[in-house]
């Protein structure tokens, strides 16, 4: 089944990839790390990156479902 996954980028990561979001179509089960690789073919995932699926923190090996929103961002600096 073809799945459609929304990918979002924030803060300095948004600047470095040059986009705030992507739509990625995948066929079958994929992990967060694989979503990154599909959306960013020529760019390795930065070491300190944080990932979320549907607004909850996840490990990059977390599996992604159809309709999920995957987000990548640098360490948080609020407060």
């Amino acid at each position: 089944m073809i799945m459609s996954v929304k990918v979002r980028y924030f803060a300095s990561l948004k600047d470095s990839v040059g986009r705030s979001d992507d739509m990625v179509d995948v066929n079958g089960a994929v992990t967060v790390a694989e979503i990154w690789a599909m959306a960013n073919a020529n760019r390795l995932m930065p070491d300190n990156i944080l990932a979320a699926v549907n607004m909850e923190y996840v490990d990059i090996e977390h599996s992604v479902q159809n309709g999920d929103e995957v987000a990548f961002f640098p360490p948080v600096t609020g407060g």
């Binding site: 924030f10 803060a11 300095s12 607004m55 961002f73 640098p74 609020g78 407060g79």
Partner: protein, 159 residues
């Protein structure tokens, strides 16, 4: 209650207004712990003239709700109020308010600290600082709030 504010807010007014509105625990609280984080005009040895605070609408609120729920499980709290600015901020403006109400000071102090440190580590906000020459830079990470030696650290800050 969690509030994300794109506008300047008065943390002291927020505390009093919230406390006055919370009739169900009037008379029950003996301890209120209030933390206010304010924007400095310096960071990492440089003067800073302003900043933009970005967040992840939806996730930021969700994470803050989870942080407050966890503190409520870990400590005897009557209520908590978290207000955080986003958008354009100038030095001397408040960035964050964490206020907690409890029957006793131990819970109030420790829950307030726990909420603030968890916010610093988990809540998706990002600061981009503006320098006097117009350059902008992202703040890369937050400092550790737990000081090994408060006295030594104060001497570093105050020179």
């Amino acid at each position: 209650m969690i509030k994300i504010s794109a506008d300047l807010f008065d943390p002291w007014h927020e505390v009093v207004a919230y406390q006055d509105s919370a009739k169900h625990w009037t008379g029950k609280f003996g301890a209120t712990n209030v933390f206010v984080g304010t924007m400095r005009d310096f960071n990492d040895g440089d003067a800073v003239t302003g900043m933009v605070l970005e967040h992840y609408p939806g996730m930021t609120e969700k994470q803050l709700e989870d942080i407050v729920k966890q503190a409520t499980r870990d400590w005897h709290l009557l209520d908590a109020l978290v207000v955080h600015r986003v958008g354009e901020i100038k030095p001397n403006e408040p960035i964050v308010l964490v206020a907690v109400w409890a029957s006793h000071r131990g819970d109030a102090f420790d829950a307030g600290r726990q909420i603030m440190e968890a916010l610093k580590n988990k809540a998706p906000f990002w600061k981009k600082e503006r320098l006097p020459n117009g350059d902008e830079r992202w703040v890369e990470h937050n400092t550790d709030g737990y000081l090994r030696s408060p006295k030594n650290d104060m001497s570093t800050i105050l020179g």
